[in-house]
């Protein structure tokens, strides 16, 4: 966040800001209190509702379902990366008979909703005589969709490279494949790494669609649990939701870390970014830091003037 949208607040702005802060807190507390009130009123906090979670078998099953979710995600991630590379390189081909089919496939698969593709695999194919297990329906649908999205990301990465990179490759006598593998792809992957990981977070979240086609994953188990004694619908959704959020936050954290790492100018070595401490020149700085610096700067300046 580099935009400097507002000044160091003066007395009037500070008053207005504190009113807004109080208002925000009030709205948030009201919303949370409302939910807690409804929870209490409908007895969501009673021991009976949480009873199922005292069993070890329930937690072993949750672990099993987590493994199911992760195994579908892992295979889909690897396959979609592979498909992404194939489609991206295909779309950049010099031969029309490779380029056009690759383009049609990418555009088509990007436009079909993942769930519809999953349903085609699971409900549709049996009417043609092929039986597909829910696991493969999830994996194939995720592979096809995320693969074509990743292909577009990779293509954008390759096309954003300076033309000279490719020309220099040909000048030193490399063939097309050499230019692609040795020069273009490594740079494109590096530039696109945050996008790739962000797309993997999407794939991870989309494994939860498997619940609709009866794949035995976490959300399916949440539904199953809510038919237990006391019908702990919200409780199981909260616990399963927590697991999903933690998994996705870990992946998003990796994406953020990669982005920050790649932002540190690699050509100048790691130390270059530490040169200036002015947050206005540092892209990673937040508005908070900026205001803090401005305020402390203002105060110090004032003190010096006095």
């Amino acid at each position: 966040m580099t935009s400097v949208l507002y000044d160091v607040p003066g007395p009037r702005a500070r008053r207005r800001n504190s009113i807004l802060a109080v208002l925000t807190v009030a709205v948030v507390i009201a919303a949370i209190a409302f939910v807690i009130w409804r929870f209490a009123l409908t007895g969501q906090f009673t021991a009976e509702k949480w009873y199922v979670f005292t069993f070890t078998t329930v937690w072993t099953s949750i672990g099993e379902m987590l493994l199911n979710t992760l195994s579908a995600f892992a295979l889909a991630a690897v396959l979609s990366l592979a498909l992404g590379f194939v489609l991206a390189i295909g779309r950049l081909s010099d031969h029309a008979w490779v380029r056009i089919p690759a383009m049609v496939i990418t555009e088509l698969f990007r436009a079909i909703p993942v769930l519809v593709f999953m349903m085609i695999m699971y409900y549709g194919l049996p009417s043609l005589g092929f039986k597909v297990s829910p696991y493969w329906a999830v994996v194939i649908a995720l592979m096809v969709y995320n693969g074509s999205v990743l292909a577009e990301a990779l293509r954008a990465g390759i096309e954003s490279l300076p033309k000279g990179q490719k020309e220099a490759g040909y000048a030193i006598g490399l063939r097309k494949s050499g230019v692609m593998i040795l020069i273009l792809l490594p740079q494109a992957i590096r530039a696109m790494l945050p996008v790739i990981v962000a797309q993997l977070v999407v794939a991870m979240k989309d494994t939860a669609l498997g619940f609709i086609i009866t794949y035995h994953e976490l959300l399916y188990y949440a539904k199953l649990l809510s038919s237990q004694q006391g019908r702990p619908i919200l409780q199981s959704a909260l616990i399963i939701g927590g697991i999903y959020i933690v998994m996705c936050l870990i992946l998003s954290g990796v994406a953020k870390w990669l982005e920050e790492r790649s932002r540190r100018a690699p050509k100048l070595g790691g130390g270059a970014a530490d040169a200036g401490h002015d947050p206005r020149t540092h892209e990673g700085s937040t508005v908070t830091e900026l205001i803090a610096t401005q305020q402390s700067g203002g105060k110090n300046g004032g003190a010096a003037g006095l």
Binding site: T2, L5, T24, A111, I120, T207, A237
Partner: protein, 218 residues
């Protein structure tokens, strides 16, 4: 073709519900997303924290789980009864709002720092900096990614089918479960896929047109 012409009533209903979820979900997302986006760039630290928490929490929850909370969880709280369609619209709106907020924030960040600095240097207050200098520029650069958010929203309407909202993919089970309907699941689903491809292409075309018309020379 029988799958289409034998069930025209169902197709009409499916398309209507899909567009209903798309339009109203989109409206909720736009309003809520603008509020959250504004909170995330506001000078009030608590508002920023709340905005960030909302975005991080909801964006990392699968949409299916958001639906789960709204459709199954809502009924457990003994609140006034709402139909699954309304709850589904709310779920998709709350989920997409995070993407709208992030897109708006990214759009504001594309405006060069110098623009805001110059506006402040000539003495404009925050309101005028935003409405006369930053937002008009941000709006133009935000339109294409915002269209991508709405394309994703359109595709996400399909998830409502898993929660018995009569959107297009729901047709498959309706047709397979009744004896006097024609069409195999494969035929029905391929037609559904085709309709989505057509709708997405339409939105992509709109996105390109707007992008070309509103491009800023920088």
């Amino acid at each position: 073709m029988d799958a289409i012409f034998g069930n025209l009533d169902l197709w009409g209903e499916g398309i209507t519900y899909t567009l209903l979820v798309f339009v109203f979900g989109g409206l909720i997302a736009l309003v809520l997303g603008t509020i959250i986006g504004a909170m995330r760039v506001s000078p009030v630290p608590i508002a920023r924290a709340v905005g960030t928490a909302y975005v991080n929490l909801v964006r990392n929850t699968p949409l299916t789980l958001v639906f789960f909370f709204f459709v199954f969880g809502y009924s457990a709280l003994a609140l006034p009864k709402l139909s699954n369609t309304v709850l589904g619209i709310m779920a998709i709106g709350v989920y997409t709002a995070t993407y709208v907020a992030e897109t708006l924030r990214a759009g504001i960040n594309t405006v060069p720092v110098g623009q805001a600095e110059a506006a402040r240097a000539i003495g404009l207050p925050f309101g005028q900096v935003m409405t006369q200098v930053v937002l008009p520029q941000a709006f133009r650069s935000v339109v294409p990614p915002m269209m991508s958010v709405f394309i994703a929203l359109l595709k996400n309407t399909t998830v409502a089918a898993g929660f018995s909202v009569a959107v297009l993919p729901q047709l498959q089970s309706t047709i397979s479960n009744s004896h006097n309907r024609t069409g195999t699941p494969m035929e029905v689903l391929l037609w559904v896929a085709l309709i989505f491809v057509a709708l997405v292409m339409l939105l992509t075309w709109l996105q390109r047109t707007l992008e070309n018309r509103w491009r800023i020379a920088r």
